[in-house]
Structure formats: C-alpha cells, structure tokens
Symmetry: C2
C-alpha cells in the first residue's frame, strides 16, 4: 500500500475497520449484548483478545452506568493517564467532570508521612468529596482495596467501580475483594488491566450515549 | 493477608516485589543487558510477557537515548495519555520537556479540513518545532508513518523513536516502515503496544539515569 493512501484513510474509517477485524476474530459472544461494545473497545485499545475472557460485569451494570453518566456523575481515576484518556468531548456533552487527585501536593505529603501509596490517599480524598462518583482504578491495587474498605464502611457509595489495576502484587486479590462488595462493577480479572483499559471502558460507556 | 497489612506496604517495596516476580517468570534474557530494564518495565506496566519477544531495539539505542535525555532533549508523544505517563520528576531533574500537540485547536482544525488524523498533523507540527526530539508513538500508526516519511525527507532527525502504536489497521505496517529508517528506535512488533507501553519505555530510560 502506498503511504499517501494510508494517511488519507479517515479516522472514523480506521475505527470501523478495526472493529470489523475484532468482531471477526473474537469467540462467539455469549454475554449480554450491552456488554459487548465495552469488551470490543478494550480489545481495540490493547490488541489483546484475552480481555474477552477476563472482563467481569455485575448484572445490569452497563445500563446503570449509563444512567449515572447521563445524570452527570463525576468520574474519579487513580492516574492522570486514565483521566487523560477519557473522551473530553463526550464528558462535556453530559456535564461529567473527570477528577484525579494523584498529583495534589497534599496527597503526596500525606502518603509520604503515612508510608502508604499516593493512590490510597487520593481515593480517601475523592471519597470525601464525591462518595457517589464513578471510580475507575487502572493502576494501583492499593487504591482499589482502600476503596472497597470505604464501601464496606458505608463511606463510599459508587455509582460504578471500574476495577482494572495491573501488575503482580495484590492485583488479583484487589479484584477478588471488589467482587465481594455489592456495588455495580466492571473488572478485568487476573493480572492484566491498566490506565488505557480503564479509559477504554469509560469511553465505551460514554459513546453508547453520545454517538 | 489482612487488608491493613496490604495498605501498609510501601510503594518502593511493591515495585521491587513486582520486578522479582517478572524476573522469575521471564525466559532467560539473551539480548544486551542494557535493554533488559526496558523490557521488564514494559511487562511491569502491562502484565503481558509477550513483550519479552515483541520488543525490537536498534544496536546501542539505550545508551544513545540516555545521552539524549541527559542533554535535555524534548520528548514528543502522540497522545496526552503517553505524555501524562512520563515521570515528571525525572524529566525536571534532567531539564527534559514533554510535548503533545494532539489537543491544539490548530491541529484539530487542520486535520478536519485535510481529512487526516490529528496524529499526522500533530507530528508535522512537532517536527517543525523540534526536529531532533525523542518521538514516542503509542497509539496512532498514521503518526508513525508520517514521522517515517519526514525522516526519509530529512526533515525529522529524531534522537530516538519509540514506535509502539497499537491496533488493527496499518499498525504492523507502520512498525515495519520504522524498521526501514536509519534512526535509533525501540519498537513493539505486531499489533500490541499503547500509550502505557510508550511511557513505560521512556520511564525505564529516564530511571536508568535518575535512580
């Protein structure tokens, strides 16, 4: 293919062609139809078909999450990366704010003095401010575990938890911990996940309303 | 494990424990030793051991990239997410700027009027401004292809190209295109990659100097 042709491909055509390839290579989808666009967008973002098996949805979560987004519920993330990845045009259309406290000086200082992760302190601060927010954790299992404790204590009442931390220490445990709470959630079981996965899930929910 | 114990784990201990697990589960490393910390950090970020096989380094690239970072070379990314993921403390210590033009109004308008991706226009703008920058492409193959054309035309002379776009349309082709240029590069072959992979590679290079 000539490179000028490549660059002439329109952005919306690239996405359509990608989704067609993903649909052709995926296993037959046996879950609720409303979950499928979320799964496909995560595969689109990662080129990793493992997510068709890894993602766990609580019953009815996609419909409930969209109601919350339509109502302008704030999205809280555990990384600046995940916040940067959420589609701002869609958020503006719905009046949704995206907040991340990880880089706040106060969070940094408190984490250092307590010897815990900034992610833990940033979750505590976000729960005080917006206890009924949509919480998306794409990086730090410590943030997800702390959020689950605050849910059990009745201090956090999330409209949705996106639980997709990634890595090797306490990651699987944090997702199992989330599964034992009663909140609506979408989680990537196992070690995989990440900030791009978190924002892909949020964008799939947003696009289901705005596109 | 008691959850309070989990939250008492110090951040630096979490990373050390993760790296120990990664080292234990990786295949024996046969590449240059200086490339290994880059590979391990990408696995740390993705929990995906495929990257031990996917990553391609041009000869001596890690040493040359570190020289460029020590000299305060600007890093240009193709997404705000990749820019957000680069460690700002390390950049400040070296006088390195991180730039991304994707959200500029001028870039948006020009892309719409030409019917190309914003990623293409943002690369052209960055090459005009900082032709000898470190370019990190974690998302858009169109950005990487355009950058390669500008390299061949002698307009871009990157100190390093991190070529890790992700996805299904022109992604593999864009990485093969990069392999045919003469610039120092680190690329993830195949469909996988992403903004988190791009910033993980940059952070591994930075930490090799600042930690």
């Amino acid at each position: 293919m000539c490179l000028e042709e490549v660059n002439a491909v329109r952005p919306e055509e690239i996405e359509q062609a990608s989704m067609k390839t993903i649909a052709a290579e995926m296993d037959p989808w046996r879950g609720p139809g409303e979950n499928l666009p979320v799964v496909m967008r995560v595969i689109h973002t990662t080129a990793d078909f493992e997510f068709q098996k890894n993602l766990r949805f609580t019953p009815g979560v996609v419909g409930r999450a969209r109601e919350a987004l339509r109502a302008g519920t704030t999205i809280v993330t555990d990384t600046m990366m995940a916040a940067a990845g959420v589609n701002k045009k869609a958020c503006r259309a719905l009046g949704v704010q995206v907040a991340c406290r990880m880089s706040d000086a106060a969070v940094r200082e408190e984490a250092a003095s307590r010897g815990v992760t900034r992610a833990v302190v940033s979750m505590e601060a976000a729960v005080r401010e917006t206890p009924e927010a949509i919480f998306a954790i794409g990086n730090a299992p410590t943030a997800l575990i702390r959020l689950c404790e605050l849910i059990d204590a009745g201090e956090a009442r999330p409209a949705l938890v996106v639980g997709v931390p990634v890595g090797f220490v306490n990651v699987i445990e944090s997702k199992e911990r989330l599964a034992r709470t009663a909140v609506p959630s979408i989680a990537a079981m196992g070690r995989k996940g990440g900030s791009t996965v978190a924002s892909a899930i949020l964008n799939a929910l947003l696009y289901g309303i705005t596109r």
